[in-house]
Amino acid sequence: MPEYLLRIRRFDPQSGEAAYWDEHSVELGERNSVLDAILKVKDEVDGSVGIRCSCQQAICGSCGVRMNGKPGLACNTHLEEAAARVRGVGWNPAEGLDESDDMTPAGVIEIEPMGNMPVIKDLIVDMDAVHWKKIQRVTPYLINKTPVPDREYIVPHENMVDVTQTMACIQCGACVSDCLSMEIDPLFVGPAALAKAYRFVGDPRDAEHYDRLNDLSQDEHGIYDCTHCFNCIDACPKGVDPMSQIMRLRRRAGSDEKIVDRNNGHRHEDAFVTLVRDYGLLNEAELLPRSYGGNSWFGKFHPAAGKELMSSIGTVATGVLRRKISPKTALLGHKLGKSDLSSLNHIYTEVEGRDQRVELNLYVTGYEDESERELAGIEDRQPPAEPSAPGEGSQSASSESETS
């Protein structure tokens, strides 16, 4: 049986001592889970190792930890998979380790508590202080439309399907752990809570879509504080794609509800889309003033744009002096040829003119296997249109227990 070296981050804030690495060799199969290995240490060597766990089947969401740098559930991460991450695979490699440091045939697995949350003990973090507080922030329950019907609400199937992805969340906090926006701005509402917000914004029974969207748009730590870093997508053990849910909230807020937020989020998007239509390429010199001052050529004369220009005058001047930004680029931008712009205009008219947006969600449709499809002789059909007011379903509950 392979032998793994487990390096567990130990810390007891009440002890007054600094955190330290606790090393244990564990013999277990490569398809055993990291949680199996932690519990083996806890059962056979040191009962004081703090780990929160319950179902051991990736349902309760209790055992979120970082394994060789990547957040996830200890119970559904195989030892061989965690050990293979010693190189990093898109995450910073475990501290001070590289492939040459493999001290056992199977490898080293560093296990740390999740990030962005205070540690209670060892691998147990304070979910109440961060994660659950943020979930509460988005009013995580249905607010019924009135009058309440005599019988049950009838919800179209496609609306139910639309919110399925966000309902898959088990509240494990893995996405919160490595959210790069939250790392810098701890007040950011964050990926888990915003995915939860979409669960109600996408539910046609909810009466407060506009208020929810307006609230999260106007909040300077709301939907426009996400940087598109994709960490939450890779962290999520359930395929919720929190970042994609945040983008859907932005679509609903900006395109459907026309909410112009005070954070320049919608203006930026609006200006970007318009400039690509008119120029074919991004015109950075126009994008910035329009993001602050409004989506027209005159946007740059708006006081908000002027204020931003004044605060950035040093940056702009340096760019021009170094010939990074030429006056011609700044004034005229770069453009595609006339026939290409005409084609783009046609595309914009066609797509933007639809009654309903077309959105393909691969979480719902899956990836087609073309050969099987041809064999089955499936006839062509239209892709699913994004429902205008989707959603149905009950909130998933999770239970957890702590042992330390």
Binding site: A84, R87, G88, V89, G90, W91, L180, S181, I184, D185, E220, H221, Y224, D225, C226, T227, H228, C229, F230, D234, M247, R251, N263, H268, E269, F272, V273, V276, L281, L282, E284, A285, L288, S312, G319, R322, K324, I325, T329, G333, H334, L336, S343, L344, I347, Y348, V351, R354, R357, V358, L360, L362, G366, Y367, E368, E370, R373, R381, Q382, P383
Partner: protein
């Protein structure tokens, strides 16, 4: 090797030195670039956030134009283009009906995207198509003693499944491998895979510049001479905005930031000025001895 070349918007706008240096480096790598000068902006994720079908159509148009050339594949020099285009391509390749509908939007131009285009960032092409051994053989000015911090950013490493990062293609280590192949020393620091903050520069400037400032400071603490980026948007926040980021994080920075083709070009013997390094806000004086145009030895990082 002939490739359909998508330079993106910013490399021809606010970071002209990127497009320029790629043009200089390409012949040295026996790369023939067929520029896609009719293609539109990839949308950088922003158009997709507004309307997914619109972003997918614009990128399908770019892919279709690439497929009309005789290039072996499509190459880009911008991580954000790579990430945004990979996302659209994933949807287009996954569903025939959806692809047909998107192609319908292009039919007036007589364009159509056929499933299965290969679209690689210059970094991926360097390792997977040209090969590190061939690259090594072309080095004329090894980056000896130059301590280079790779800054991957987000769009070129995540999500790993969509971008094909796996054991066979460790694309999240390619910059490490290229730096070593060019004779440099890789500096690992906390910011290697973090976000530069650019996407929220107009929404939350303080947070955006804090991100940039923190990563630059971490690289300085790790004694890097310079950073190298595969993305012009990262370059904007890490170089153009560096003086502002310095004020936000309250420390002196002065960390030169090179585009990937510039680093490759230096090692292949090109002159710094030909690679547009004089256009940088933070002058790469720690990288280059300007009087002799030779890669410096162990000079400490300084602006």
């Amino acid at each position: 090797m002939k490739v359909a070349y998508w330079p993106g918007c910013v490399s021809r706008g606010f970071t002209p030195e990127l497009h320029g240096s790629m043009a200089k480096v390409a012949p040295l790598l026996d790369l023939e670039l067929i520029e896609l000068d009719r293609a539109a902006c990839c949308g950088a994720g922003v158009i997709a956030e507004h309307n997914q079908e619109l972003a997918d159509t614009l990128n399908a148009r770019t892919f279709a134009l690439a497929q009309q050339t005789d290039g072996a594949l499509m190459m880009n020099i911008c991580s954000t283009c790579q990430g945004a285009q990979s996302e659209c391509q994933e949807r287009l390749d996954a569903n025939t009906d959806y692809r047909q509908q998107i192609n319908q939007n292009l039919s007036d131009e007589g364009l159509s995207y056929e499933r299965g285009l290969t679209n690689k960032n210059f970094l991926w092409l360097l390792v997977e198509e040209i090969g590190l051994d061939a690259l090594k053989a072309k080095v004329r000015r090894p980056l000896t003693d130059l301590r280079v911090g790779p800054f991957y950013g987000c769009y070129i490493v995540r999500p790993v499944d969509r971008l094909g990062v796996d054991e066979e293609h460790p694309r999240d280590r390619y910059m490490h491998m290229v730096i070593e192949a060019l004779g440099g020393t890789v500096i690992d620091y906390a910011g290697v895979y973090k976000c530069c903050g650019f996407p929220i520069i107009t929404m939350n400037k303080q947070a955006s510049l804090s991100m940039a400032g923190r990563h630059l400071g971490d690289a300085m603490d790790a004694d890097a001479d310079c950073l190298v980026v595969p993305c012009p948007l990262c370059h904007l926040n890490l170089d153009l905005q560096q003086p502002s980021a310095s004020k936000v994080v309250g420390r002196e920075l002065g960390m030169p930031v090179l585009h990937l083709p510039q680093l490759v070009g230096l090692a292949l013997g090109l002159e710094p000025k030909d690679l547009g390094m004089s256009k940088h806000v933070v002058k790469p004086t720690s990288v280059i001895d300007w009087s002799t145009s030779v890669v410096a030895g162990t000079a400490p990082a300084a602006a």
